[in-house]
C-alpha cells in the first residue's frame, strides 16, 4: 500500500470551494496574464507602427484657421517669419485687405533699450521693402506682456470699427490657444468677426514636430498654454525683474560695509 506523497496536497471534499477551485484558478490566471501582456505588446507595436500619424494628429489638433481670402484687416504681432510680409504685401496689392494692424509690443526691456527693433520698426521696414504704402499700416503701440492684453486691445479696436472683419496671424501651434483666449476676451459677437491664419515655422510643422527639440518644446508648450487657458483663464500679472535693483544687491553683497 502506498503512502501518500507529502508533496501532493490533499484533496478537499467536493463542494468545499477551496482547493477544488484552486485546481483551475492557476491555468485561468495564467491565461489572463498572458493575454494581458499580449494586449500590451499589441498596443505597443501598433503605437510604434502608427506613431507618425498619431503624432501628426497630436500636432495638427493645435492648428486652427486657414490662409485668408479677403478681409478688412490683418492683425500682426509677435515674432513673425519673413514670408508673412510677402503674403501681406501680396494681399494689400490685390486689395484683399485694407490695412495691416501691427501690435507694437513695448513690454520687452530689449525693445525699450533699442537692442531689438520694435515690431512697428520691423513691419514698416519689411512692408516698405515690398512696395506697400505706409498708410496701409496701423500701429497699436502698448505693452502686451501676455496674449490676453493683446486681445483686450484688439477688442477696443474692433469696438471702434464695427462691422470690420479681421484675420489674426498666429504661430501654427499657438493658434488654437490664441483663438480660445481671444474668444473669451472678445465675447461671441466680436469673436464672430475674427478668423485665424496659422503660420508654419520653417524649422518644424505638424508632420515632423517630434523630430526636433524645438518642435517638441513648441507642441508641449502649446498644450500647456491651451490647458492652462481653459482651466484658469487669464493669469495674474507677473512681477517684473529689475536688473538695476539686482545690481545694487550684488554691490551690497560684494561690499558689505
Amino acid at each position: 500500500m502506498t503512502t501518500p506523497d507529502s508533496n501532493v496536497p490533499p484533496l478537499s471534499p467536493a463542494g468545499s470551494g477551496g482547493e477544488a477551485l484552486n485546481c483551475t484558478a492557476g491555468p485561468v490566471r495564467g491565461w489572463w496574464r498572458r493575454t494581458r501582456w499580449r494586449r500590451r505588446l499589441a498596443v505597443a507595436v501598433l503605437l510604434l507602427v502608427f506613431h507618425a500619424p498619431l503624432l501628426r494628429a497630436v500636432g495638427g489638433f493645435l492648428v486652427v484657421g486657414d490662409a485668408p481670402a479677403a478681409t478688412d484687416a490683418v492683425v500682426l504681432g509677435g515674432d513673425s517669419d519673413p514670408s508673412v510680409f510677402d503674403d501681406l504685401a501680396r494681399m494689400v496689392r490685390r486689395g484683399d485687405t485694407r490695412e495691416v494692424l501691427v501690435f507694437d509690443d513695448r513690454s520687452s526691456r530689449l525693445v525699450r533699450l533699442g537692442i531689438v527693433p520694435a515690431p512697428e520698426t520691423v513691419a514698416r521696414r519689411e512692408m516698405a521693402a515690398r512696395g506697400v504704402a505706409p498708410g496701409a499700416i496701423t500701429v497699436l503701440t502698448g505693452e502686451y506682456p501676455t496674449a490676453w492684453a493683446g486681445a483686450r486691445r484688439l477688442r477696443g479696436w474692433m469696438e471702434s470699427h464695427p462691422e470690420s472683419r479681421v484675420v489674426v496671424v498666429a504661430d501654427q501651434f499657438g493658434s488654437r490657444g490664441s483663438r480660445h483666449l481671444t474668444r473669451r476676451v472678445l465675447g461671441p459677437d466680436l469673436a464672430a468677426r475674427v478668423s485665424w491664419w496659422p503660420r508654419p515655422d520653417p524649422r518644424f510643422d505638424p508632420s515632423n514636430w517630434w523630430r526636433s527639440r524645438q518642435g517638441v518644446v513648441a507642441v508641449g508648450g502649446a498644450y500647456v498654454a491651451l490647458t492652462h487657458a481653459y482651466l484658469f483663464g487669464e493669469p495674474p500679472e507677473a512681477e517684473r525683474w529689475d536688473p538695476d535693483r539686482y545690481e545694487s544687491q550684488l554691490r551690497s553683497h560684494a561690499n558689505p560695509e
Partner: protein
Amino acid sequence: MGPGPVRESAAIPRESGVRRLWRRGRGLTRVVLRWSKRVAAVALVVGMAAAVFAADRTLPPVARYLDVSEPPRRTDYVLILNGDLETRPFAAAALWRAGLAGEVLVTRQRPRIETASRQAGLVPSEFEVTIGVLRARGVPESAVRVLPGEIASTADEAAALATFLDSEPGTTAAVVTNSFHTRRAQFAFRRALSSRDDRIYFIGVPREGADERTWWRTPDGCTVYLGEYAKLAYYQLRF
C-alpha cells in the same frame, strides 16, 4: 472478498528546491507589484489633491528643487548660458559691474535652431542681442570673450566651458542661467568638467512670468517648470 491488487501509483516527481524558490519569488513579486500599484495610485490621488487644495504649500517646493544656485562670489569669469535674453545677460553684466567677475564669456548659438525671424535677419541673433545688452549695460568689449564653436544645448555649453577652463588652469567661473535651469545645468557641467567642477558655481536669476512661488498660476510658469522636469529626466537617461 479480500482487497484487490495493490497498484503502484506513478511516481510523482518532487519539485526541485530551485523551482520552488522561483515559484515563491514570482508570487511574492506579483504581490509586491500589486501593492506598489495601489500605493502609487493612492499617492497620485493624494498628490493631486494636495496640488489643488494646498497649492501654495505644496507646489513652490517643486520649483525650488530645481534651483541649486549659490550666493554670488568673486570669480575670474562669468559665462552666460543661452536662453532667456530678458534676464541672463543683464545679470552677467551686473556681476561684472559689481566687481564679482573679471570677464564675461559668451557663446554663439547654432543658426539653424534660431527662430525664423532671427535666421532671416529681421531681428538680431541671440548672440548679437547678448553683446548688445552687455554693451548697453556698460561692459566694454575688452571684458567680453567669445568661446569658439556653435552651441545647440546646455551640454554643448558645458563642453565649451570645460575646454576653456582647460586652457586657463586655476581660474574660476560663475555660470549665469535661470534659477529653474540650474539643476540641469549643474548636471551637464559636472559631467563635462568632472574633477574641475569645483572651479564653477551657478547663479540663478528669475524668469519673468515664471516665479517659483507662483509658477503654476501662469502658462509660462507651467511650461517652464514642467518642461524642465522633463528635460532633467531626459538628461539623466541620456547622459
